[in-house]
């Protein structure tokens, strides 16, 4: 019996070595493993073996069966993998299907980037109407009627009462009318000025205003917060300066400049050779604004700021003509997939 086992094993080893395709493998399978094959025949002969030899012979038989079966598996895998590489070759350099991924407008992305920074500083996000009343747009913000300060913002009027808002600042009045301090809000939105359309100006653009009102808010805090914003948005290596300015709704008022990021402060055409870029206007909320919303300026103080989005995007993305933002040429829109 043992000789038979050995001889079948040897013949299987010899025959299986030459098998290279599925057909030969099948012939081999039939010879050894099928119902009438050599291995089942051996197994059925086990019953004729002397009782005392059965365990040892049985063990040998099992080993042979396992060996043959695992060899089959190996040969089959070898044949399969060989077959797939030889049968069909794919040119993987062929182009892929085009999948469209859309884009947010670069103005949206710039606004989101700015609002996200202020959100982490605890600011809420508020919107207001684009048609405003003279009261919200000017009067409540301490623009006296017939004051030349109104000339600072060329206005589109609808009638004596209504106009297209010239800034997003009126939203601060709307918030403070409804909500007691602390008020910490940023106000993104579209604004309008009656200005001729050119490469640097448009009758519609976007702004983000911000305000923080509470007890004991100071100019030093205004500086700290806006510096933190500017470093996060423009880079931690920027230098900054706050210079005196004028807005009717803040007192003291300031403009914030940062070192020109085009020329790194060396002086270039963009910064008019000053090395500085004006990035936002700001100041301490004027007591007259507090009076418009019935807050006591001796109890509360606050700071406010505002910035133009198009101007920032022009500078940051090296765009030279503001009109392109509103032309909606997809060749422009697709240049700015979601950035951040």
């Amino acid at each position: 019996m043992n000789e038979r086992i050995l001889s079948i094993k040897n013949s299987f080893i010899t025959e299986s070595a030459s098998v290279s395709d599925t057909k030969a493998l099948e012939i081999l399978r039939i010879k050894y493993l099928s119902k009438n094959g050599l291995l089942p025949a051996l197994l059925s002969d086990l019953k004729n073996v002397a009782k005392e030899d059965k365990p040892a012979i049985g063990k040998e038989l099992n080993l042979l069966k396992n060996f043959v079966e695992s060899s089959f598996k190996e040969i089959k895998e070898r044949i399969d993998s060989a077959g797939s590489s030889s049968k069909e070759t794919i040119d993987l350099s062929l182009p892929a299907r085009a999948l469209p991924l859309g884009s947010k407008h670069i103005i949206t992305q710039t606004m989101e980037e700015i609002t996200d920074i202020f959100k982490t500083l605890g600011f809420g996000v508020y919107e207001g109407p684009e048609i405003e009343s003279d009261y919200y747009n000017f009067e409540a913000l301490n623009f006296a009627p017939d004051h030349p300060a109104r000339d600072m913002q060329d206005t589109f009027f609808i009638n004596d009462t209504f106009l297209l808002r010239t800034h997003t600042t009126p939203v601060q009045i709307r918030i403070m009318e409804k909500q007691a301090p602390p008020v910490r809000a940023i106000m993104p939105g579209k604004v309008f000025r009656n200005e001729a359309v050119s490469t640097r100006s448009h009758y519609q653009f976007h702004q983000i205003d911000g305000i923080f009102v509470d007890h004991k808010v100071t100019f030093a805090e205004l500086k700290g917060t806006l510096v933190a914003f500017a470093k996060q948005f423009y880079g931690s290596d920027i230098k900054f300066r706050f210079r005196a300015s004028y807005f009717p709704f803040t007192e003291p008022s300031a403009e914030m400049d940062i070192t020109c990021f085009i020329c790194k402060g060396e002086g270039c055409r963009i910064c008019k050779h000053s090395g500085w870029l004006e990035i936002l206007g700001c100041g301490m909320v004027d007591p007259n604004v507090f009076k418009s919303v019935n807050l006591d300026p001796d109890v509360y103080s606050g700071y406010a700021f505002g910035m133009g989005i198009e101007r920032i995007a022009l500078l940051k993305y090296n765009i030279t003509d503001i009109r392109i933002f509103f032309e909606n040429d997809v060749r422009f829109l697709k240049q700015f997939p979601a950035l951040k």
Binding site: A98, G124, V125, F157, D214, S245, P252, N328, L333
Partner: protein
Amino acid sequence: MKISLNWLKEYVDLTGISFGEIETTLTMCGLEVESFENQNEIYKGFVVAKVVEAGRHPNADKLTLCKVFDGKETLQIICGAPNVAANQKVVLGKMGAVVPQNNFKLSKAKIRGVESFGMLCSEAELMISNDHSGIMVLSEDSVEGTPITEALKLNDIIFEVGITPNRPDALSHTGVARDLAAIFDRELNLPSFPTLSNSNAASSIFSIEIKNPELAPRYSAKIVQNVTVKDSPDWLKDKIKAVGLRPINNVVDVTNFILMELGQPLHAFDMTHLSGSKIIVRKAGSTESFITLDSKERKIDPETLLICDGIKPVAIAGIMGGENSEVTEITKNILIESAYFNPSSIRKSSKMLGLSTDSSYRFERGCNPSITLEAAERAAELIASLTGGTVVEGHIDIYPEKISEPQITLRLSQVERILGYSIETDKIEKILTSLGFSITEKKEDKFIVNSPLFRPDCEREIDLIEEIARIYGYGFIPPVERIAISLEKKNDDTILASRLRNIFVGLGFNEAYGNTLLSEKTAALYGKPITMLNPQSIELSRLRTSLIPGAIEMTAKNINVSEKNLRLFEIGSVFNLVNPKPATFSDFTEDKKALFLITGEANQEEWLTKPRKFDFFDIKSILNLIVSNFLLDNFVSYSYYSTQNNLFDLSCELTVQKDGKTHPIGFGGSISKNVLKEYGINQEVYCFELSLSELKSVQRPFPKFKDLLRFPKIQKDFAFIFDDKVKYSEINDFIKKSSSELLKEISLFDLYKNESMGSGKRSLAFNLVYYDFNRTLKDEEIDADFFGLIEKIKSNFNAVLRGN
């Protein structure tokens, strides 16, 4: 406003302070230097030279071949000017110099075959005047080689300073000098004013009456007799030119000089044309016509303040004088007006007339009522000395109600409360006094401060705090580098728009920003547009009533540049009138909308992909996606119309029922061919506009987790031949209605038409999915449901089951 550095230095000693430091200081204290002209730079390379020889150019009749000595060497120069001659002293632009007029950099040039090593300049080329008739010829005693910055005193720096509307005091050289003196801690040297005389000589020959003192609180005047009107001397002309004005004569130039020095507008009348020897200041009262100095006829509004003589108007108060009383070469006696007018009255009149002058610009911002008389005295004295005239002793000064300086209590604690930084009391006192404020009372914790009348912007404590911070320097207040966050719930109005944006971007849409302003014609197509009072043009006179027209326009533009396959979206506000005359916010609507638009091919032809054009069903797919993201399906209803309206050939509406209310979420469809034709578009365009506020009102709460299905799904298919008239939606509803709740999904997987079915018939093939969340279904119960359904469909629709 143009500020001359040389002129400034007459009032404040700026020795030892660099030009750059002055520029930065002005900018930092709120007087922003927008640009500057440094004459030392501009005139670099221009020197006095002598024409040694002037001969004919060998190849050109109109050119002169000159030998010019520049103090060191003799150069060959070709000159085209007709007036060039030997022995003239002229201005030579050397090689490397840049001609101010055209920024042309001089270099060696060959002119008609002859070399030239520089250029002889005209006044126009040097931008000294408009004279371009010939080269500038200097006086004989000019020394060759002297830079013209020295020889012609072209060594000034002219700052263009942007003055904010709150700072009328800085619209003058003394005003700017005051800020610099305060910051650099130097003395301010104001011009000395002649001592006022008590003589009544002037008032005895001329009288002034103010009928509207509320509009003209003060009117002062001086008289100068026997003047000779002629050109001003160079020093005055130079000053006038330095600040960008045109020299006129030795009377007008003095009034302009005082304006630029003190900020007080003056006007000189020719007294012979003032009838009745008097001035009456009054409102026009009725609409009048008046010819101003610039020879233009102006319509005067009844509310406008006029300066009149005994019988007629002679000037529009604070804005411009009249032609009828203008100072001319034959003028002998003049009356100098120096007044203070009500700012808002001047502003209204100036707006009404559409005329803004140096005078009105200052009056409407607020002049200094306390300086009128001194300014008139100073002007009179100067005019007399330049014209050879005599100042009539005394003055006329009508000032019925003296304006007093505002008194402000400055609580010292407030300075630190607002600035977050403590500034020493001594420093505060010094800043305020150096700016012209007087501290009338000093207490431990507060100052009583009188604010000078030349600072109309300083009326309150906060205004003083700003002045202190401004002069102290914002840069010296250290930023607080921390932030206290209050922990209340944070609002975000932009969430819904952000969610929609994310969906659209994921679907391959590009976000657009359209124009809010539209033409009347376009806006009226889509709603009831709001009209603007002062549009830039009729094309931009209405507010958009819908985002659709803007989207069609941008589609047309893109197609024009061969971008024909578009997926665009926009989120923005639209406006519609409710009441034709809006008086309150409820008389119009302002709604935020989201629009999406598709046109061209959904898939372009590629080796792997068959091309497919966008169609109506793409609109439905996107809507379904938005609906499944935002809404509960069972409330939603769509309506589809294939009938035409003005806008759409195929249209649909999306409404949602919630709490018994119907919410119109949006509408859209395929844009009508007629509309597209107007934009030159000849491909199908589909779009849909959603209302954000409606969407928000039916928004579902954020979903909760539902257990996953643990039991098998059973799928069944059937196909029926239906009559064409039977709508899919009817069949779909019927299947739902006629099945047990075990039927969970219905999908149409084939639609087929064939002649063999007979005309007007179509085959619809459905796949049905049955399951239960709590158990495995038995074949028998599904068979009962499914075969029962087949019979019901057969009989209800008279449909024929296919495939058996």
